[in-house]
């Protein structure tokens, strides 16, 4: 039986913001978190500290920020606190793939899991493909309990308000 594809509704302004972030950070990966209070969305750009970790410990972190991201733990707690105190739960995470297509890589998948379970089973992961500072495609993925895997979800951009 065909499973119905899930839909991730996003405000067009939200997509505009993450595209701009992806283009600004090019050729490095950008990363961030989207909060939503149900009516409004809040894009929280985060610092990608992959270059610092790579410089400190290249054996453990063989990639630099051109092919990897790691959200600054200080940004992560700040956004978590905002989500809790302002009642704006995490709707999605986003990052870019500079000079690569928009897919959910094995690394993306492995890093979205902890202890063999999805860390945020209710959140989507948005991947923006950027070539030469131009956004090429965007895709989103989310945990599917039925598939016990991440599956692509369709992005529906709500018209600009």
């Amino acid at each position: 039986m065909m499973k119905q594809t899930k839909v991730l509704e996003l405000q067009s302004e939200t997509l505009d913001q993450i595209y701009t972030h992806a283009m600004v950070e090019f050729p490095d990966e950008c990363c961030g978190i989207i909060l939503s209070d149900g009516a409004r969305e809040f894009v929280r750009e985060c610092r990608n500290i992959q270059n610092e970790r790579h410089a400190e410990d290249p054996d453990t972190y063989p990639r630099d920020a051109r092919t990897a991201y790691l959200i600054d733990p200080n940004d992560l707690i700040r956004v978590h606190k905002e989500a809790e105190t302002q009642n704006r739960p995490i709707k999605a995470f986003y990052h870019s793939h500079p000079n690569h297509d928009a897919y959910f890589s094995e690394k993306d998948k492995a890093d979205a899991m902890a202890w063999d379970e999805p860390v945020y089973p209710g959140a989507a992961y948005i991947v923006v493909s950027v070539y030469d500072r131009e956004v090429k495609t965007v895709k989103a993925f989310a945990w599917s309990e039925a598939n016990t895997d991440f599956v692509e979800v369709h992005i529906y951009a709500k018209p600009h308000v």
Partner: protein, 98 residues
């Protein structure tokens, strides 16, 4: 002394689905030992074989990453809040490993 520990979603099955639990302890290390006593299996998920916090696990004392405090030895006091939050990471091509 009791501090509140916020548990990430994937570990809540070890805490009977409680998103936060109160635990006794005066350092992060002793908190983890007491968590383990109450919720067996939680320590091996947070720490590696040598007892170090796993690389992909962030632990915060209130809003501070304990990496920038005293790590495992960071002192905690009554009323503190500890958050355990897995890192958010990823990357593009699959032809490299990390």
């Amino acid at each position: 002394m009791a501090v509140t520990v916020r548990i990430p979603t994937p570990l809540r099955r070890l805490t009977q689905n409680q998103p936060e639990v109160d635990v006794e302890g005066d350092t992060i290390e002793s908190l983890i030992e007491n968590l383990e006593a109450n919720y067996p299996g939680i320590k091996e998920r947070i720490c590696d074989e040598s007892g170090n916090i796993r690389r992909f696990v962030n632990i915060y004392l209130n809003d501070e990453d304990i990496r920038f405090l005293d790590g495992n030895a960071t002192a905690v006091k009554d009323g503190d809040e500890i958050s355990v939050i897995p890192a958010i990471a990823g990357g593009s091509s699959d032809d490299e490993t990390n």
